[in-house]
């Protein structure tokens, strides 16, 4: 029986170490999308190309800790421009936006305002 104890303990230790490493790694990774663990990254971008409320391309003006100025990015503002729904965004505008790192995939979203409302608000 004794001959099994050391291998079993070793395997358990390796599993424990691996789980700690994985947890640490993923926590760090997902934290890239969170400001101080609480808010998503708030960045400033300059719109280069926009179509139907969706920014097709933009240039980072102030990307905080993770995005360099001048870096290109794609940001969908069809959901969540809040008070500024009524605003018409144009190429060349500098706006505030949220940075979602590539390792996060949006799976579901909803808003009390619809795209029809956005159109109405822009009138």
């Amino acid at each position: 029986m004794k001959k099994y104890i050391i291998p079993i303990v070793t395997v358990l230790c390796i599993c424990l170490l691996a789980s700690i490493l994985i947890k640490t790694y993923f926590n760090k990774t997902i934290d890239r999308g969170v400001d101080g663990g609480d808010h998503l990254y708030h960045i400033q971008i300059k719109i280069k190309d926009i179509e139907n409320y969706k920014i097709l391309s933009a240039e980072v003006i102030d990307g905080g800790e993770f995005l360099a100025a001048g870096e290109q990015c794609n940001i969908d503002i069809s959901e969540g421009t809040g008070y500024e729904y009524y605003k018409t965004f144009n190429a060349g505008d500098v706006i505030e936006a949220y940075f979602f790192p590539n390792n996060l995939e949006k799976t579901e979203a909803g808003n009390v305002l619809t795209l029809d409302d956005f159109s109405e608000l822009k009138k």
């Binding site: 663990g37 808010h39 959901e79 809040g82 008070y83 729904y85 009524y86 996060l104 799976t107 808003n111």
Partner: protein, 181 residues
């Protein structure tokens, strides 16, 4: 037509008052299409009174108020009934409200508010919820739940990480019997 641009500085200038819960409810009234932009002060102060908001501080001539969380739901119902002739509206309030409390409201185009405090700071805030989003970490599958809120301070939506550890006493209030117009 909804304008959704009544930010803190505008409200303070128009009314001489500011309270985050009243602000959140005023934004809800905008979303519901019942705000009267020719009577901003009247609307704002009606919500102030209906929710039992009291002045806790005065700075530079602006009265800052605090609202008992328990008054949020019933106070807004009273405002809608007494001042906007909207009957049949009911409120639901839940402490430690789950994310689904808000997603179900958004799906029905019902307005809702989130009141919460920040651990260790002794301060709290209330915001109007206008949307939500769920993100999945591609590798781990871990979910990130986000509420899209109007924080009442600035003219832009805020993305609030619903699962952030430092938020406390997350209380949700939502209203049925009236939908976003």
């Amino acid at each position: 037509m909804k304008r959704l641009k009544k930010i803190e500085s505008y409200i303070e200038e128009k009314t001489g008052h500011y309270a985050c819960t009243v602000q959140a409810l005023y934004i809800c009234s905008e979303l519901l299409g019942v705000a009267d932009y020719s009577k901003v002060k009247t609307d704002y102060m009606n919500i102030w009174k209906a929710t039992g908001t009291t002045i806790i501080d005065t700075e530079s001539g602006i009265n800052y108020g605090s609202t008992p969380t328990s008054n949020v739901g019933t106070g807004f119902v009273k405002h809608l009934k007494d001042n906007k002739k909207k009957t049949g509206v009911t409120s639901t309030q839940k402490t430690s409200a789950p994310f689904s409390f808000f997603t179900s409201a958004v799906k029905k185009r019902h307005v809702s508010t989130l009141s919460f405090s920040v651990k260790g700071s002794g301060s709290g805030h209330s915001v109007a919820v206008e949307g939500y989003a769920t993100y999945k970490h591609k590798s781990s599958g871990k979910k990130l739940n986000v509420l899209l809120v109007a924080d009442g301070w600035k003219a832009q939506v805020r993305y609030l990480n619903f699962n952030a550890a430092k938020y406390d006493r997350m209380t949700g209030t939502k209203w049925s019997g009236i939908t976003v117009q």
